[in-house]
């Protein structure tokens, strides 16, 4: 009896209980090599003094974590603060700015396609190209923006070169670039709300504000939550546009976490320090990622 059960494992056909692994194996091998093992290695590296160009790796316990929070230049703490500044500015803009755009485009009767294309178009452009385009527009001498500001009587500004304006400029560019995704998600959420709800409300004498507050907003809540969480996660991982637009300057006023980690790991080759920064970032993100996870679980049952 036991023997025949074991013999099944030797079959070279679909009856072998392990047959599923034939399909799974290519992915599983890649997953182990490039995701599973690296996660464990990353923990290990963060506990080592691991410089690519210096002496061989040396175990130092939690010293990397201690160091990044206490070293005299405080660059990591500073970059955390800057990332939070970016998130505080960008997340509400993304969450509510794109909601208002979506509501407007949903309500308008003509040219819907044109409006959609306009707001989504920047999204397909790569981060270097959008940064170059905006560096050119922000240019203190020949920039379009300064020219038109001058026309209405404002003095020329070096938007990316001043600590007060650089982060705002980055947020504005990021919004221009990334509004398309939340906009489209909202739009499809709005289109899923049955028109009959609004008609019924109107018969009962509800005005536009009531319809928005009592129908649109509650029914859109899962979408709103999804976009918020996603934008928070994205904001804490911001890198490309900051790296190209300001390089973290002026005076490190826009240096963000991922950029600081990139510089530590790939300019100074301090792998241990960079890995410990990645884990600090993970600790910040995990709360939001778990919320996102729950949303995915429930999404399967989301019907109006």
């Amino acid at each position: 009896m036991a023997r025949s059960r074991l013999r099944k494992y030797l079959l070279l056909n679909e009856e072998n209980p392990l047959y599923g692994y034939v399909y799974l194996l290519p992915y599983l091998v890649l997953f182990v090599i490039f995701i599973a093992l690296p996660i464990l290695e990353s923990m290990q590296i963060s506990l080592y003094d691991w410089s690519l160009i210096g002496p061989p790796p040396r175990y130092i316990g939690l010293d990397n974590y201690k160091y990044i929070f206490t070293e005299p230049t405080e660059l990591f703490l500073h970059s955390l603060k800057n990332t939070a500044r970016y998130a505080i500015g960008a997340v509400p803009l993304f969450v509510f700015g794109s909601l208002f755009l979506a509501i407007a485009v949903d309500a308008v009767r003509r040219w819907k396609g044109f409006f959609q294309i306009s707001f989504v178009m920047p999204m397909v452009i790569n981060v270097s190209a959008i940064s170059i385009i905006w560096i050119w527009i922000f240019d203190p001498i020949a920039g379009l923006l300064n020219y038109y500001l001058g026309r209405i009587g404002l003095p020329p500004q070096n938007f990316l070169g001043h600590a007060e304006t650089a982060m705002q400029a980055i947020i504005a560019v990021s919004f221009w670039w990334g509004v398309g995704f939340p906009f489209l998600v909202y739009l499809s959420g709005l289109q899923d709300i049955p028109q009959t709800y609004y008609e019924a409300a109107r018969i009962d004498g509800a005005n536009a504000w009531h319809c928005f507050k009592d129908i649109t907003l509650p029914l859109l809540r899962p979408t709103l939550l999804f976009i918020s969480v996603m934008q928070i996660i994205g904001a804490f991982q911001v890198f490309g546009q900051v790296y190209i637009l300001t390089g973290g300057g002026p005076y490190d006023s826009t240096r963000v976490v991922v950029q600081h980690m990139y510089l530590t790991g790939f300019q100074y080759f301090e792998m241990g320090l960079a890995a410990s920064m990645a884990w600090v970032l993970f600790c910040i993100l995990i709360v939001f990622t778990l919320i996102q996870f729950r949303l995915f679980r429930f999404s399967e049952r989301l019907e109006y």
């Binding site: 679909e14 399909y23 995701i35």
Partner: protein, 281 residues
């Protein structure tokens, strides 16, 4: 005027949206305009939207420049990487998703749980170990360094598995009773049924690979291996903004136009795909 009064809300909405939409498109149009100007004209005041003299000289220079990665080369690199990545992600992930959704084997639920929980880990965590591994293997500055690690992403498997579960099983059961092999069921029944998910995944993977910045910046340091975003970023250092803005903008426009045209053509699929990814599979 009763018509205006009746449609006042629509008119206000139209005007507001049109102004916003124009603002959204102007930066791109300004880049196109600058890219067509001869370099000495780019810094002229007042700015001119229509170039006094239009030339394609800037594009000729950046496509074949010897000062940094020529744009044709960056295109070639980006295309190879994006096409291979997309194709292989579809193959590897759909096979794995099929096993996880439809086949019964010991350890399936554990494997799936591990794959799903890896979605919690942000990409920055694996960055350094994967870099060190590729460095050891001598894979840096090769296409495989961009393609192979991208195939391990858990999201594609997760997406396709969820989609496969939502497809009715009846057809597959009928085919099995008729003696159809598992692989033929997968290839001729399941894959066609999940085509919408495959299309979405293909578009996302292609754009993701095409626009990826950080990873290629780390592993592609040799000029002739740079993909478009990395090469473009190097243009800012290789050319002088004060006197060669036309070149830099031409490079950006050249990199922008193909995805923009692609977007206009496949707009429906892309928009549907994004809607699909937002909470609804």
């Amino acid at each position: 005027m009763p018509w205006v009064r009746r449609n006042l809300k629509q008119i206000v909405l139209m005007v507001a949206l049109t102004i916003l939409a124009v603002f959204w498109l102007l930066p791109i149009l300004w880049a196109v305009s600058t890219s067509l100007k001869p370099n000495p004209h780019t810094y002229r005041h007042p700015p001119r939207w229509i170039p006094e003299v239009a030339t394609l000289e800037n594009f000729r220079e950046v496509f074949f420049t010897i000062r940094t990665t020529p744009i044709w080369r960056a295109y070639y690199n980006s295309l190879i990487v994006a096409i291979c990545t997309t194709f292989l992600v579809l193959v590897v992930s759909s096979l794995a998703a099929y096993a996880l959704a439809r086949l019964d084997f010991p350890g399936r639920n554990v494997v799936f749980a591990i794959i799903v929980s890896s979605l919690l880990i942000p990409g920055q965590i694996t960055l350094i170990p994967v870099f060190l591994r590729l460095h050891r293997w001598g894979w840096l500055n090769s296409y495989k360094a961009l393609i192979v690690p991208a195939l391990a992403g858990p999201f594609a498997v997760f997406l396709l598995r969820q989609f496969m579960l939502s497809v009715p099983r009846d057809l597959e059961d009928a085919a099995r009773i008729d003696g159809c092999s598992r692989f033929r069921i997968f290839y001729t029944i399941v894959l066609p049924l999940i085509k919408p998910a495959l299309t979405t995944l293909a578009i996302f993977t292609f754009f993701g690979s095409w626009n990826d910045f950080m990873w290629p910046l780390i592993v592609m340091t040799r000029r002739d291996m740079m993909t478009l975003p990395v090469a473009l970023q190097a243009y800012l250092a290789a050319f002088n903004y004060m006197i060669e803005a036309g070149y830099i903008l031409a490079a950006s426009v050249a990199a922008t136009l193909p995805p923009a045209v692609f977007f206009l053509i496949f707009r429906r699929y892309i928009i549907k795909g994004i809607a699909l990814s937002g909470l609804k599979f």
